[in-house]
Amino acid sequence: MENNDKLVIGGREFNSRFILGSGKYSLSLIKAAVENAGAELITLAVRRANTKEHENILDHIPEGVTLLPNTSGARNAEEAVRIARLARELGCGDFVKIEIMRDTKYLLPDNAETIKATEILANEGFIVMPYMYPDLNTARDLVNAGAASVMPLASPIGSNKGLATRDFIQILIDEIDLPIIVDAGIGRPSQACEAMEMGAAAVMSNTALATAGDLPMMADAFRKAVEAGRQAYLSGLGRVLVRGASPSDTLTGFIRD
C-alpha cells in the first residue's frame, strides 16, 4: 500500500486500517495478533481489578500501538461516561470507543444514549469513536455531537455473520464525512475485504480471530484482506452489468473458415 494513504482519527494518523480486539483469547497471543494483523489500534475493556491475576494486558501490547478502551458494560450514557473517565485515568490517552447496550440477548447498541455520551465525552476532550446501529440520522447526530469516527455494526457482536447491514453501512459511507469503521460481526477476511471495497475507512474485529483455529495466521489473513479491499476501493471497482455479457477479448480476428 502507498504510505500516503492514512487513516486519520481525531487528528491522529494510522497506516493500518484494521482495528484489533483483544477479548476472549490468551494474553500470550496478543503480540502475535498485533504484529500479524499490522494493527496500530487495539481495543480494551475496563473491569474491576483482579488481585489474583498478576499479568496485565498492557504488558503484552507492543510499543506504539494506540489503545482504544471501550465502555462495554455501560447500559446508558452516564455509565459510559464514567467508564471512559476511568479509562483515561488509567493513563493511556484520549481515545474511547463508546459501547452502550441495554439488551443482553442481541447486544445491540442504544443509539440515543450513544449520542448523549458522545457529546459529553467529546466536550471533555476525548477522541470519541461510537459503536452504533447503522442509521443515517443517528450518524448525523454523532457528527454534530463531536464524534471522531462512526462505527456501525455489520451484524450482532460475536456472531461472525458478516455484513448483514451492508446497504445501511453504504449509506453512512456515502453521506457521512467521518471515517466509517465497520465493527462487530465481521467473521471472515472476505467480509472485511468487502467492507473495505465499499469504502469503509477501517474494519474492527475480535471474535473472528479469537474463535479461529490459528489466531496469528488469521490475523495475517485479515491484514491482507483489509489491504486488498482498500486497494480495490482506491483503484475504483469495475462496473456490473445488469444484463448480458461483455467479452474480455476483442471481437475481431477470429480464426474461422
Binding site: G23, T51, G158
Partner: protein, 64 residues
C-alpha cells in the same frame, strides 16, 4: 465499613495507597474511584477512607 469493588470491608481510616498495597493491587495499573469521583494518583497517599465510602479499583482487560 467501606465498600471495595462491591464488597463490604473494614477499611475505614486507611489511605488509598494502603488499601491498594494491602490488597495486592498494582497502583501503576489501576484507576480508583471514590463515591463515583476519580481519585487522582497524587492523592492516593493523602485520601483517607471513611465509613460508608464506596471505592472502585479498575484496570484494563481484553475486550472488543
Amino acid at each position: 465499613m467501606v465498600k471495595l469493588n462491591g464488597e463490604q470491608r473494614e477499611l475505614s481510616g486507611k489511605t488509598v495507597t494502603e488499601i491498594l498495597n494491602e490488597n495486592g493491587y498494582d497502583p501503576k495499573r489501576v484507576a480508583v474511584e471514590l463515591n463515583l469521583e476519580i481519585v487522582p494518583k497524587s492523592q492516593y497517599d493523602s485520601m483517607i477512607l471513611k465509613d460508608g465510602d464506596s471505592v472502585e479499583v479498575v484496570s484494563f482487560v481484553g475486550g472488543g
